[in-house]
Symmetry: C2
């Protein structure tokens, strides 16, 4: 049987309380006593039972997730993933509060952060918006020693502890390579559909995409980006117009949300005999159906559940003063085509 604190205590000839002090690096133990305990730990190969420790501590980690009020499928999936983990809180001793703020509103986000900072909290996760006031609010949280993780969308210049999200430039490069290769031997133009290039994520994706196409696929030309604010009706209208206007458009990279409108436009185009190779982001139900029907050729995905769980793991580690194994927390860029749909 594996050794317990009792074994350590009797081996070292001290009490349980002292063992606990040494094990948890609490102050008020003579060096000599500490040595005895450490020797016993070493000798018996003691490993702490974390579950039992948590039970005894009755410790609960109160975390707050600040999420945007956004109706696109991905943000909804993210919201649901957080709610899911919230329920699991009973078992993993987290107490997750969700605060929702208007989307794309830096002032609202900063205000929400400041409000959260007033509460008794062990960590905060939030979807970043690139803005000085947001960075400043994060700085104030960190000044109070509250761990902060950015989720999905980073704020590189802020004091956040960790970013739980995808490398968007790499995602753009991935899309570029796939689209370029799917169009092997053809020459023509590529349409870009974005929410807004003012959003760092979208800009980064486009940057990576552009780099790959320009350096690797000289027969393809990238058209100026269509910014449709991730709005479905708008996307549909603008993409339809662009397709009609340019018979040479043979591919589209949709790097934002708003896929529903895009799918409508592509279906219409297909009706008119135009098959356009398309790569989009986020495996929503719509995107899945579009893959199945051949309207989309590939979909890049980030797993919202993974991101949320990673954020929680990191916040817990931080709250416990432990280090994070960065490699283990890297969020993958999933590639889905019709054939490997999960």
């Amino acid at each position: 049987m594996r050794p317990t604190v009792h074994d350590i205590a009797s081996e070292a000839g001290v009490s349980l309380a002292t063992v606990d002090r040494v094990l948890n690096g609490r102050p008020g133990v003579r060096q000599k006593t500490k040595d005895k305990v450490e020797a016993a730990v070493e000798k018996l190969g003691y490993v702490r039972d974390v579950a039992a420790a948590n039970l005894a501590k009755g410790r609960i980690y109160p975390f707050t997730f600040i999420l945007p009020l956004n109706d696109n499928s991905f943000m909804q999936a993210l919201d649901e993933a957080v709610q899911q983990e919230r329920l699991r809180g009973r078992i993993d001793r987290t107490q997750i509060d969700i605060v929702r703020v208007p989307a794309f509103d830096p002032a609202a986000l900063a205000a929400a952060i400041d409000q959260v900072a007033e509460t008794e909290i062990a960590g905060v996760a939030l979807v970043g918006i690139e803005a000085a006031q947001v960075s400043a609010a994060i700085g104030r949280l960190r000044a109070r020693d509250i761990p902060v993780v950015t989720l999905v969308s980073d704020l590189e210049d802020s004091a956040r502890d960790h970013y739980a999200g995808v490398d968007n430039e790499a995602a753009g490069r991935t899309a570029g390579t796939l689209l370029g290769r799917f169009l092997t031997g053809r020459s023509g133009k590529i349409g870009i559909l974005a929410g807004s290039l003012a959003v760092r994520d979208h800009a980064n994706r486009l940057k990576g995409f552009r780099h790959v196409i320009e350096t690797g696929f000289p027969d393809l030309e990238i058209l100026p980006a269509i910014e449709a604010q991730d709005d479905s009706a708008r996307s549909r209208a603008m993409v339809s117009e662009a397709i009609a206007a340019d018979p040479d458009m043979i591919g589209i990279y949709s790097l934002g949300a708003g896929n529903r409108g895009l799918i409508g436009a592509l279906e219409t185009a297909r009706g008119n005999g135009r098959e356009i190779v398309t790569i989009a982001h986020e495996l929503s139900d719509h995107a899945r159906k579009a893959l199945e029907s051949g309207i989309f050729d590939a979909v890049l995905n980030q797993d919202a559940g993974h991101e949320v769980r990673s954020a929680i793991r990191v916040l817990k580690s931080r709250a416990d003063g432990l280090d994070v194994i960065a490699a283990q927390e890297r969020i993958r860029i999933d590639i889905f085509i019709k054939e490997n749909l999960p």
Copy 2:
């Protein structure tokens, strides 16, 4: 604060022991008492603290993993993943034994299974080999009510409880679509490199691949499969020869292990001005480097760690007599290209 067994007991006006009996469906409780307890559970929204329960039970799940002694990278990764989980056993109360048997040896595997059946065990995971004697041995395990999960390689006709691995036919279809699309506009022949088509996994991959190419890419012709027993030197020689023999070979699908030899052959071919679009399986270090250098164009991967953890979750559920949510245990087919390498 969330309710505990104490709250249920006082609400229902019974003792802790009775609450426990009802909660765990143990016999010897009057229906009327049971009703009272269940009403209290309902009313207070009680949810059991699994960690505390395990602590009290002192329960440990002794599982045995039977793994092939195989030096290919994937099997080594699998072995390491099991060792990893073995270490975590201290925290998640599993006690994992690893038994290693010669690879591709049905008699040895069957013997190992029978030997394990003699021990006090809560579940067995094993890498399947298609053979009647193996199925029979699994049947004997199940007859003793020991849960069995096949890992990586299934035995559909056996009595195993669950398969923790990838849908290999879908993997083949995925490879076919990618290769076909990467070769858009070109016509030529596709080489197939397999370990042995007697291995069901390899045969299934080829089946899926063939289906996609034959129905979707009429300009591509699949050459007879090269079976190199996953041996590096052999793979290298046979692939080199095949490339030299057929100037029309423009693509290769490598559906087994033995990638090192394949990479060597492709590098030589490249030196001779032959660029062959290649898709392989399993993201080993060699495969990763081959992606980075452009020798491989895509790699399909199954995550050994996921498979092992899924197997453990399923075995635990079975041991506890719980159902498994199949959708949650599905193992994904990961697509990696140079740009989305993790």
